[in-house]
Symmetry: C2
Subunit: 253 residues, 2 copies
């Protein structure tokens, strides 16, 4: 039996990134795609609990079964597992995201939300992102990396509770190297553009500038991306901090 | 100058949990409250990027300035920092959540989303939750723990990039002990109730049963909660896994 690969994303079922992803994955297994019916960027691991969800088939693409859900990326994985998936997938792949999910962006990312949800089901899971937000970004430089990484994870699995956050730089020349790295310390600043509506009331729209707080650290995802190298960060579902700090222990005395 | 404490939650500005929280925190500092204008449970670290946000003052409560935002818990923290907060807060506190945020629930939690966002701003941050979903839950057993932990974190801070996920069991007798612990391995099953609409189309509503996958492990948040003990889990903003696994390293060869 061919490996079963469940695919989702956060840019929605229409996005070109997921179609590029499917083009690679159909070479590796049976592909079922369950994506949001609308863009869900920045949805993190949000779940829909206050309203009903529907899953509807759409036209097959390149041999893959395709479905859309009126929810978040995590909803897509959960509802796929509950409905159209009849055996445990061998791999969950999310993306290819239109835009970077390096550094702190991984925390807000719906692409990574779907990958973490796959991980929560005990399935080896990967999120892929290209550092280009354009709807018509060229995903072809990603494809050799998507194929190599997906193939290796299908063969070898991943440690329990660990997914991969793969970011691919959109650069010329195209990347030829990838590295195991870690999430860069970074933050956003000037995060809102302020407006005044016709009634004189202020409103705000999310924007901002990313600040790399450790630009000299060569061991980060951001460093790799700015040097034309694909970044592979192993990320944990569980966030329990590995610390042994007396300041916290004092709490208990 | 009194410490500045920024408060949010995911149950919304009307929730009794946040009012109980404020009652404690006004004893410790100047309190500014910025909460969602509607329930935002399960919003994780979701951000609103596709629509405008507004922040509106509501009536002061017990000496605390109160505002509501038409967005997620993370939106509340971000927009508070951008607008009504004029110096770096000494503490961000989120909750008290109506319902447990132990084990994997911490990943979906909007309460913890707000705490992680505070952490992303470099502010010591805590999420508090009571294991009772009722709108009229009795939060009084939480208050000594909220006060003791908040006071200690104000005095001692927290390690960089680490927040606290505090869960308080709703039990008789009331808890008298708290422990530093870790997120329990757990998962949800039977996650949807299926319906058929009047047109014969299926729809689904999130529900489910939680399964503790390590019930014998006495070192977890779930064990503490089921034994009447308050659980304090230090949680990391960055999810880079602390692993050195050859299976991942093989990816790079």
């Amino acid at each position: 039996m061919k490996p079963l690969i469940l695919v989702s994303n956060d840019d929605g079922i229409q996005a070109s990134g997921v179609h590029s992803l499917i083009d690679v994955l159909v070479k590796l297994g049976e592909v079922v795609v369950v994506c949001p019916d609308s863009p869900q960027s920045g949805q993190s691991m949000a779940i829909t609990s206050n309203s009903p969800l529907r899953i509807k088939p759409v036209e097959d693409y390149n041999g893959a079964k395709m479905y859309k859900v009126n929810g978040t990326p995590v909803d897509c994985i959960k509802l796929a597992m509950h409905t159209v998936i009849d055996r445990k997938p061998d791999l969950v792949v999310s993306g290819i995201n239109h835009g970077s999910n390096a550094s702190i962006n991984a925390m807000y990312s719906g692409t990574m939300g779907a990958a973490f949800e796959g991980c929560a089901f005990g399935i080896p899971s990967i999120g892929f992102s290209l550092t280009n937000h354009s709807a018509d970004a060229d995903f072809s430089p990603c494809l050799p990396f998507v194929e190599a990484i997906s193939r290796q994870v299908l063969e070898n699995g991943l440690p329990e509770g660990v997914a991969l956050n793969v970011n691919i730089p959109d650069c010329i020349p195209h990347p030829t190297e990838m590295r195991l790295t870690k999430g860069c310390k970074g933050r956003w600043t000037h995060e809102y553009k302020e407006y005044v509506d016709p009634l004189g009331q202020k409103f705000y729209w999310l924007t901002g500038s990313f600040i790399n707080e450790e630009p000299e650290n060569t061991d980060t995802d951001e460093w790799c991306l700015s040097h034309g190298i694909v970044s592979v960060v192993p990320v944990a579902l569980d966030r329990t901090a590995q610390i042994d700090d007396f300041k916290i222990l004092q709490l208990l005395t």
